[in-house]
Symmetry: C7
Subunit: 96 residues, 7 copies
């Protein structure tokens, strides 16, 4: 991965429709707040609390996650679509 | 459960109308802020306070809860409807 | 009470007009922010401060309280109307 | 006083026009943010800081105060008009 | 002064146009955010920080100050116009 | 300087167009958020943190600074135009 | 660099289209929130936490970064276009 996200941000590789249906989780188009699925490819060094302590992220590289569709910033590297978003926009890890 | 929610989030299985009427609690359609009933199926590891302490969630897997209807994100797994929401959107636990 | 509210929430039984007039307190319809009267029937375990300390609620089960009319979520259990609201929406306890 | 306000709230007896003119303070109708005068009749137990410390209120029962006209909730007890408001909506104490 | 402001509030005697021009400071009518000049006639006991410490005000009775025109609440006492405002709406002290 | 700014505020002498072009920095009119250049002529005593510690300002009297055009309050003293603004509206110091 | 940014701000030299395509990262025009690429040329002394501790910035002079297009303030020095923005508007560092 060429990108090293800052703070509590993560880089996510957005999964194609085929990859998603394999997992058995369907994220309905009619959902109130459309969620998306992806794979974590890079994580920031963590969030700094007001007491100066650095809090490492909960998600790890290689994990599959569900996140809010309208979160984050799109980046394209060598034809692949990525998203940079804050960990707080990630809803859940998908156990494989 | 395939989903492991992050932070203070929980995964809730929304109860069907029949399941709800059994419980004796009626959530009126005319309510100012429409509440819903469901069962907790997965909980996050907790909320991190500004002093670095991790606060475990109050709700537990298997508990029935009432939550605000407009909270959370819908996810469908193998035909079942689930909601991922923050514990602060849960109003009360229903004692069985 | 079948409901156990979470955090700093309380469950309140809304008083009928007859019950209210007995108390001698009149909450005018023309008030800027319409207040209501009710009886506390269940209280949450308290609010967690940023230092991790749990702060128990000030109100107790059985107390009569005045609260802002537009606060909270309505729930109906066996024909009775209840409200789940945050303690910070309760204005005062009525001494009997 | 039948009402015991919660937290940092106070109960205020709104002064009639005659009572106000005696005090010599005129609160102009054309003021940008219309203030009102009243007498404190009950005070809450105080505001809880994030370190768990309870901070008692600055105002005391019997003091005359000036407060913002649009603050608080009206309550009528035995024909008298009262207001329940947060101490932070009180601007100043009037020295007699 | 009949008024004792609460917390971080101060009472200010608004200066008349003649008094202002003497000081040599011109506050232009065309300014983006119109400032005003006045004299501090009473100060509150201070602001309470979240650690419980009381922070005394920086301004003192008798000082001339510049403040934002749209801040505060007007009060008239014996024909004189006063303003009650928070110290954070005071921009600077004018050295005489 | 006749003005002593409060807290984290500073007084800035806005530079005329000739003075600005000498410095070699051009602040384009078409910029998204128009910046301006000026010289610090007075600084407040600092910002108070929530732990009671007073944090002195980073900028010093005599430094040239760039700040957001829409920040602050204009004041005119003896024909000179000044701005009173919070240090957080200053973007950078210009090294001479 | 003539500019010394304050606090958690950084100065960034915006990369021209040719410089960007060399890096292999394409920031699509159709992206929801348009990101941009640049090189850090100056960094502030850091952000002060509420406990008084100064937190140095994560980015360093010479690093290539991706940031949100609508963040920051444009400055032009000797024909070169720069941006002054807060470190929190920087999404990721690009590893060369």
């Amino acid at each position: 991965m060429q990108l090293k996200p800052l703070g509590d941000r993560v880089v996510i590789k957005v999964l194609s429709q085929e990859e998603k249906t394999k997992g058995g989780i369907v994220l309905p188009d009619t959902a109130k707040e459309k969620p998306q699925e992806g794979e974590v490819v890079a994580v920031g060094s963590g969030r700094v609390l007001e007491n100066g302590q650095k809090l490492p992220l909960e998600v790890k590289v290689g994990e599959r996650v569900i996140f809010s569709k309208y979160a984050g910033t799109e980046v394209k590297i060598e034809g692949e679509e990525y998203l940079i978003l804050s960990e707080r926009d990630i809803l859940a890890v998908v156990n494989k």
